[in-house]
Symmetry: C2
Subunit: 81 residues, 2 copies
């Protein structure tokens, strides 16, 4: 089973990487860009066929390692089997 | 209009960041992880209401700045208006 995990900064948290990309885009002539936020995408292969177990594993991974709960939100999609 | 852009390493390209996360996860006791690949998620706000124009802008951004076509693939979703 595969999991796609999306980790994004919470609203209001300063995003210097996104700001740098925004500025590069405007410099390149993309004047219709209003804002850029940068996040992480993790593709995890799981040796697990049970949807429920996979879900609880992914949730636990995010809480323990992949996302910083103080400044980041996460969501995930499971693609099985 | 908002665009979600997913930038991932092409198959076969070495991913040290993903490997480091994989090792941390196994150290933490997640023994059912087979592989981890790390990618980028960009959320771009566009001052554009035309779907077709937005799409061509996003494609051009990816080709010019956001993805490295030698080692990375990109895909995107447009969420309007």
């Amino acid at each position: 089973m595969k999991a796609k995990i999306f980790v994004t900064l919470k609203q209001g948290i300063h995003d210097p990487q996104g700001q740098a990309i925004y500025q590069s885009l405007t410099t390149l002539g993309f004047q219709n860009v209003a804002d850029v936020r940068m996040g992480k995408l993790l593709e995890v292969d799981l040796k697990e066929t049970d949807q429920e177990k996979a879900e609880s594993t992914v949730k636990s991974m995010c809480q323990k390692l992949l996302a910083n709960p103080v400044i980041e939100d996460f969501r995930y999609e499971l693609l099985g089997p």
